[in-house]
Each structure stands twice: as C-alpha cells, then as structure tokens.
C-alpha cells in the first residue's frame, strides 16, 4: 500500500507537465482581458481546447518567455514589446499578412512601425492613455495635461497617477513640449522639478482607477480609455480627456512564441481573431476598440459612439505610439523615478 502511495505521489508531481496533445492551445494574456465567450466560440468551431492564464505586466510575461519553456503558445504584448521580442528572436514568424482573414484588418493598423507588414502579430485591442475627470467636482476645460501637473484647486489632493515611469515622464515631457526619449539634462532637470512640485497634489499612484473614482477617493485619474468608460458607466459625471499636448496610443497584439508547443493551433487562433464577429467579442469584454473593419456591425452602437472610443476629430492627429528608448535613457529615467518616489 505504502509503495503505491509513493508511486502515485510521484506520478502526480511528474505527470502534470506540459501536455503536447493535438487540439490544445495555451494562451497567456493580461488579467481580465479575454472574453470567455470568445474562447468558447473558438473551441466550438475548431475543437481545440484552450487554457488561459493571466499576467499583470509586460515585464512579467517577458521574464517568463525569456526563461524559456514557458509552455505557452500565444502571448499578448503591447506594441513596443512586440518589437523587442522580434529583435530577441522570441517570436515565430507566422505571417498573419498571408492568412485568410487579414483583409479585414483596418489599413491604419495593417503596417505598424513595431511589426512592419504584420509578419508576427495580429491586433487584439487598442486604446489611448490619458485621464478621466469627475466633472461634478471640476467643470472647466479638461483637455490638457495641466489637470494632472498643475491642477485647479478643486482637484488638488485628489489625483491618481499611473505608477509607470514611462507613462508619467512621457506625459510630463508632452506637457512641457519637450521631445520624448529625452537625454538632454536641462530638459530632464526641468521635468523632474515640475514633477516634484506636482507630486503634492497627487493622492495615489495605481493602475486601478475605477473603484477609487467611483467611491470618490479621487476626482481625476491618469488611465486608459476603456477603464474610463467602465468608470463612467458607474459614475456618469466622469469624462475622458484628450490632452491637446498629445497623448499615447497603444495596441496590444497577439503573437506566437518561437517555442510554442502547438504552433498550428496558434496560427488558427490568429486567423480566427481577425474575423469581424470575433473581434467584436474581444471588444465587448474589456471595452476597448479593435482594429478589424466591419466589427462595428456586431457591437452595440453606444459602444462605437462612446466618447472614449470615438475620438473627436481634432484629437486624432495628437495620438502617437510609444517608442522604445535607448538603454542609457532608461537608466536615467529610472534614477529620476526613484528620486521622485523616495
């Protein structure tokens, strides 16, 4: 009896390794970002069993993928990380641009700077990062970064910033009209001083903005447009801003890992995601726009017309992708960030 227990125990420990059976697919995505209905539809149409695991940041995902043998087939990195992964040879060149559904990808997103010609990635969702303001507390013009860095009296002490050196510094540099990926010491010193002064008006630094704005802990919050929409649905006076100094546009993309155990199934998924009806399912869950033409037909009209999704025309040229900065710039940014938060 004891011998069998021992063997059984060993079997439990050893037997739970990555299953390489056909008909499986392992997805690794941001938390709370994948519509279960989408996965069910995929399984129903293709018979492939899907597992879904969550990560909280690009860096976590990257660390795991770099270590190798992660067991995942498909991950969903943000735009500039796609470029890093391509350069590091971590991705499989699946040529989505040659797949059947590629024709559905909107021309604006079909040839992005981080993956020219779409040889590796398929669009998942895209959005903007700016901030939301509770207009019941402050009703003036909100379309400027000054709200966060030089706030009006009503908002002082009630502001939330994202705890990301890239996001905060980029916003600050845009506000001051300075170039991004800045290595000019004068510019950096000026930016740092400005931020040190602005810090006293901030209350929290957190990615999560929905709960705190709805509860009234904060009245203005740096964040993503989809989160702003979800906040507005619970607190109707919340409005999303489009800062006139410029704001980041980002896109999360679906890529296949070079060491994916289920390569063919992953490619089937990539093609599946470029179908308009499926893309609508993606957007419906986290409330961000997708890049597939024709998906609008499958989504409720309030979504397509929502101010967080449909940018006002004057704002359209102001959004731009984030660039990968030089290592030396990153180091200096890190140093300043630590000093800012010490």
């Amino acid at each position: 009896m004891k011998r069998y227990l021992g063997i059984a125990a060993a079997a439990v420990l050893l037997g739970a390794g990555p299953a390489l059976a056909d008909g499986q697919l392992h997805i690794y995505n941001w938390g709370d970002y994948t519509n279960p209905a989408l996965l069910e539809k995929f399984t129903a149409e293709t018979g492939i069993e899907v597992t879904l695991d969550d990560y909280d940041s690009n860096e976590t995902m990257l660390a795991k993928v770099r270590a190798g043998n992660s067991g995942y087939d498909v991950v969903v990195p943000t735009d500039y990380i796609v470029k890093v992964m391509i350069d590091d040879g971590l991705l499989a060149e699946t040529r989505p641009d040659q797949m059947a559904n590629f024709k559905n990808v909107e021309p604006l997103w079909a040839d992005p700077p981080f993956d020219p010609g779409r040889h590796y990635s398929v669009p998942w969702q895209w959005g903007t990062t700016a901030f939301a303001v509770d207009t019941a507390i402050y009703s003036g013009d909100i379309n400027t970064w000054a709200i966060l860095f030089d706030p009006p009296d009503e908002l002082k002490g009630k502001i939330n910033m994202q705890p990301s050196q890239d996001e905060v510094f980029n916003a600050a540099l845009r506000y001051m009209g300075k170039p991004l990926c800045n290595s000019n010491p004068e510019d950096l010193k000026a930016m740092y001083d400005m931020l040190v002064n602005a810090k006293q008006y901030w209350r929290t630094m957190d990615y999560g903005m929905i709960d705190t704005m709805v509860a009234g802990d904060t009245a203005a919050s740096h964040g993503w447009n989809g989160a702003a929409m979800r906040t507005r649905l619970q607190r109707p006076t919340v409005q999303y801003a489009y800062p006139k100094e410029g704001f980041p546009v980002w896109m999360d993309n679906v890529v296949v890992l070079a060491d994916a155990p289920n390569m063919e199934n992953a490619k089937i998924l990539q093609n599946f995601l470029m179908d308009p009806e499926n893309a609508a399912l993606i957007s419906d869950y986290a409330k961000y726009a997708n890049a597939i033409a024709g998906s609008g037909a499958f989504m409720p009209p309030e979504f397509a017309e929502a101010p967080e999704i449909k940018m006002p025309e004057w704002a359209e040229p102001l959004g731009e992708f984030t660039l990968v900065c030089d290592q030396s710039v990153v180091e200096r940014y890190s140093q300043l960030w630590t000093n800012l938060l010490k």
Partner: protein
C-alpha cells in the same frame, strides 16, 4: 453558611484566578474585531446587487451563481489548495525534523549553519526568489530536462514555508522540559517510542501552529507563484491580482465567502472527529 464549609484554598481560588490578567480579554476581543471586520464586509458585499464594492445597492445571489459558473476561479482555487496542501506537508515534516535536531541540545558543529539555512527563505524578498527560482527551474530543464510540472510550484512553496513552520515548532520545543521524556526512557521505552508517544504529542500545538502558518503563507502567495506558474497552473491570488487592474468583481467576494464556508466545515469536521476519538 455554605462558604464556611469550603476549604481555605478553594475560597482563595474562587476569588483569585491566578491566570487572569487585566485587560487581556479586551485586547483579545479587539484583535478579533480587527481580524473579522473586513471579513464581514467581504461577505456582506458578496451579496451586493451591483458590481460596485463601495455602494450597497440591494441583496442578490447573482455573484454566487456567477462564481459557481466561473470555471477559471474554481480551477484557480483548486490549484491553490493543492499546492498549499503539498507544500505544507513537506515544509512541516522538514521543519519538525530540523527543529528536533537544533533545539534543546548542546551546540554541535553545523548547528548555527543549519539554523541559518533553514531560515534563509525568510530573508529574501519575494520578487527576488521569484525571478531566481524561475531561472533556476528553466536552467534545470534546459540542462537536465527535468521539470516537475506543478511540482515546481509545490517545491518552491515548500521552500519558503519551511521557516514559517520551523519557528513556532522551535518555540514550543524550547519550552518543553525533559522530565517526561526521561521518565519514558526510565520505563525502558526506545527512543522512537519516546518520540512517538511523549515528545510528539507534547509538541503538537507547535507543529499545528507551524503547519497552519505554512498553509496560510502558501495559500496567499502570489509574487513567486506568478513567476513560476505555467499553463493551467493559475492560482487564486494570481487570478485576483491580475484582474484587479480592472476593478474588483463581487464574484471574487462570493468565491472567498465560499472558501471560508468550506474551511469552516473542514475544520469543524476534523474537530468533531478528534473529539469522538478521545
């Protein structure tokens, strides 16, 4: 009068409880209040009608329905339980043996080193352990092809649970006097018999405390688990943490309440079983 008939020591005992310390009962009550207040809130809001965790808007069992239907949460909870149980067993066994070897004895060569090694995982910040262990297991696989699947997680958990189990056991052992064990030896008991029938039962509160701590620590861990978990190995803390950026869902509150109820049932059952055996 009846009290006159009572003996003098009895009378003294009735008026003077030598164990009582003033204010300690109050502190214990305060402690319990602090511990349970958020739990009560959690349970209350799991019945909240809307998604919000701050405004109460009406009673509803919706979230429990959703929690039961949400396969991801269930799988995550089950993973957490499995890992915690295995890790606790490994850690407690290792810790008990180590405590026996390093306590109540004359210092022996290697005792301080053993003590340091056993407590080492306590001292390393979790994120560092997380990344380092990730790389370690990756190297192990790359060089030797060895991977234990979910066993990787169980081993990693066991490692950082060992000091949490060790310290309460050690604290308990240090207090035990040896007269009972010496008496057993005088009665011709073998060392193993002495251990099994005298030392171990006396140590039990320490072992239980250690095992409980280890379980809780493992169940709650997410930094290390986040890094090491592979496909299908998401645990409850990871699921919760990664979905927090989009706001807390009352489903999570509902699932937590369910877990709470299950644990109450489990412990009550083991308690009753223990009583019956006596």
């Amino acid at each position: 009068m009846a009290s006159v008939a009572a003996s003098a020591p009895e009378r003294r005992r009735r008026r003077f409880d030598l164990r009582k310390q003033p204010g300690f009962g109050f502190m214990a009550a305060l402690c319990l209040l602090v511990l349970y207040a958020p739990i009560m809130v959690l349970i209350a809001y799991s019945f909240n009608e809307t998604r919000s965790v701050s405004q109460w808007q009406g009673f509803s069992l919706d979230w429990y329905v959703k929690a039961f239907a949400n396969k991801e949460i269930q799988e995550a909870a089950w993973n957490s339980l499995q890992i915690a149980l295995v890790a606790t067993v490994i850690a407690t066994v290792c810790a008990t043996m180590a405590a026996l070897a390093t306590t109540r004895t004359r210092p022996w060569r290697g005792m301080t080193t053993s003590y340091m090694v056993v407590n080492l995982p306590l001292m390393v910040p979790e994120i560092v352990t997380a990344i380092a262990t990730l790389i370690f297991f990756a190297l192990l696989y790359a060089a030797l092809g060895i991977s234990f699947g979910i066993g990787n997680l169980m081993i990693a958990h066991a490692v950082f649970c060992v000091p949490f189990a060790y310290l309460p056991i050690r604290a308990r052992l240090e207090d035990m006097d040896r007269t009972l064990e010496q008496a057993a030896a005088d009665l011709y008991a073998t060392p193993w018999q002495t251990f099994r029938r005298v030392t171990l039962p006396l140590m039990m509160p320490g072992v239980t405390a250690g095992a409980t701590l280890a379980f809780v620590v493992s169940f709650d861990d997410f930094t290390i688990t986040l890094m090491l978990a592979g496909p299908g190995q998401t645990t409850l803390p990871i699921y919760i943490w990664t979905s927090l950026r989009r706001g807390i869902s009352p489903e999570i509150n509902a699932m937590s309440s369910i877990l709470l109820v299950i644990s109450v049932i489990l412990v009550t059952a083991s308690f009753l079983l223990g009583r019956r055996r006596k």
